[in-house]
């Protein structure tokens, strides 16, 4: 394993030192491993807290700032943080209008955020949670822990963040988050495995002529393995399960995220987006807003995912609203 790190166990802690050094506009709580908006708590604003295992950067720490998250809780690599720091984040961003937890659907995250919410409620805080679960790779989701939360989380954080910034109340911000999640679907794939620092070697072996379709963001194996194929084929394999799960051809504006898993260069991600767009055009999907890049990653894994959100005019307005975070910034 070759990585730009010191000791594997210190990766998250030391990476946060860099975040603090690079972003004086943010506050870093090194003890609890939190990235917090500099002006938190914002009086009268709903506080947004997300978090989970590290290794998905820029998600979540890179999405803290005006118009998006108030705090991110950074667990060990691919390991949910414990309730204690989640509680600390909740307290730190509570500006009196309640706090929304944005949780990706993984058992560890759900259990730890649940325990934290119980503790916060005990001390009188008003906490709601939205669990994202957009990964169509998970079939038979009734017989499993349910679909995983992946790419849509970025868009939930952006739109709920904009809604909170507008001063909406907790129920209304939660409603936006649920609307985005309910209308979002994602499918991802990998060309290579990631390497968890503490493990020191690739999580899975993927032969040079194979790819894994339907992966999550933790090096979990995917839905199936298949012979490595050209980008145009891969685009078909990613979009087929998305488009057959939900219809996106209503004419409603669609937000598309062509996301890199970390190790794939941007030139390839744009090429993939070109292939995806061709298919979307053929299916009469009207993409109104697009992001192409590394937004929710799996360390150095090579691969990509496509997320589509069927939006409406209000959601597009919230998308366009100003945001100022290390990972997503416009309008200010």
């Amino acid at each position: 394993m070759k990585k730009l790190i010191n000791a594997p166990d210190d990766v998250v802690k030391e990476s946060l030192l860099g975040v603090a050094a690079a972003h004086p506009e943010l506050r870093v709580d090194h003890e609890n491993r939190l990235v917090i908006r500099g002006d938190s708590p914002v009086n009268g604003k709903v506080g947004l807290v997300s978090g989970g295992g590290s290794g998905h950067e820029p998600l979540h720490g890179g999405f803290v700032g005006v118009g998006m998250l108030d705090a991110a809780v950074c667990g060990e690599v691919f390991t949910s943080p414990s309730p204690e720091p989640i509680l600390a984040a909740t307290t730190a961003v509570d500006g009196g209008a309640g706090v929304l937890h944005i949780v990706k659907n993984y058992t560890g995250d759900v259990l730890n955020f649940e325990m934290a919410a119980e503790l916060a409620a005990d001390s009188g805080a008003q906490v709601e949670a939205i669990v994202t679960n957009d990964d169509v790779a998970v079939q038979d989701s009734l017989y499993t822990a349910g679909r995983r939360g992946v790419g849509v989380t970025v868009i939930v954080e952006k739109l709920a963040g904009a809604a909170a910034e507008e001063g909406r109340n907790l129920a209304a911000v939660k409603e936006v988050a649920e609307r985005v999640n309910g209308n979002g679907r994602t499918m991802g794939m990998a060309l290579t495995s990631c390497v968890v620092p503490a493990a020191g070697k690739p999580t899975f072996d993927l032969p040079e002529d194979q790819m894994e379709i339907g992966i999550g963001i933790h090096g979990e194996p995917g839905r199936y393995r298949r012979d490595f194929a050209p980008a145009s084929d891969i685009a078909e394999q990613l979009l087929e399960p998305v488009l057959s799960d939900m219809s996106f051809d209503s004419g409603d504006p669609v937000i598309a995220l062509c996301n890199g898993m970390g190790g794939t260069p941007l030139i390839e991600l744009y090429l993939m987006y070109g292939e995806l767009k061709k298919i979307l055009d053929g299916h009469h999907v009207t993409v109104a807003r697009t992001l192409v890049g590394n937004y929710i990653t799996s360390l150095e894994m090579a691969g990509c995912s496509i997320t589509l959100v069927k939006a409406d005019d209000e959601m597009i307005r919230l998308w366009d609203a100003p945001v100022s975070t290390p990972g997503l910034r416009w309008g200010m």
Binding site: E76, Q139, T144
Partner: protein
């Protein structure tokens, strides 16, 4: 038959820490086949913190000891197993109450309460290929041994054996809870990491009681 002492409970957790630390790569290996390759490091970190905690702040009762350990696990393990093992110890402590020894029967009740806590938190059913598939049979075996007139040490040995059998039985199962469930059919053919760590914990318990 001797009661189980506070010192033995503490010894259990120290042995548990030694065991998960020693088996760190084995647990992580299992987790990398059907999970995210961190179960070994999660538990090594968590039980390491538990032992540190007990060393710096000795507990006055079994309840205090198990509660402090449970809270420490919750706050240091992260992942799915943190809240689950944490809840298990918290419930065990509550079941025993404020005492510095407990009878074998009380230990059996505590284990049962721990199992119920894990099920309440994680909502897994038997056969879902989780730690419950080792913990459930272990608690039953413990209770059955007591019914046959055995003491805590022998019952714990039986529980550890039942856990190991439960662990091995997870191999052909298709996971329905936790990360492994995302694999569907592909989760079959691998032992569940949590059932393996439950087995290590019960083997540590049996050893602590045998030597005690």
């Amino acid at each position: 038959m001797a009661d189980v002492s506070l010192a033995q409970v503490q010894d259990w957790l120290v042995r548990a820490k030694d065991s998960v630390t020693e088996q760190r790569s084995y647990l992580t290996e299992l987790d990398s086949a059907i999970g995210d390759a961190d179960h070994g490091s999660n538990l090594t970190r968590g039980f390491g913190a538990v032992v540190d905690k007990l060393a710096s702040q000795p507990a006055a009762s079994i309840e205090a000891l198990l509660k402090a350990s449970g809270m420490t696990l919750v706050s240091t393990v992260g992942g799915a197993s943190g809240p689950l093992y944490g809840t298990m110890l918290l419930r065990m402590g509550k079941a025993v109450g404020d005492a510095d020894t407990m009878t074998a029967t009380q230990l059996g009740e505590a284990l049962r309460a721990g199992l119920e806590g894990v099920v309440a938190r994680g909502k897994a059913e038997p056969g879902d290929k989780t730690m419950v598939d080792a913990l459930g049979p272990a608690v039953e075996a413990f209770e059955k041994a007591l019914t046959s007139g055995e003491g805590a040490a022998t019952a714990a040995t039986a529980a550890a054996q039942a856990a190991a059998a439960g662990r091995d039985d997870t191999e052909p199962l298709v996971a329905r809870k936790g990360r492994a469930s995302y694999l569907g059919e592909r989760s079959a053919g691998h032992i569940d990491p949590g059932s393996a760590s439950v087995t290590l914990l019960l083997e540590a318990l049996a050893a602590a009681l045998a030597d005690g």
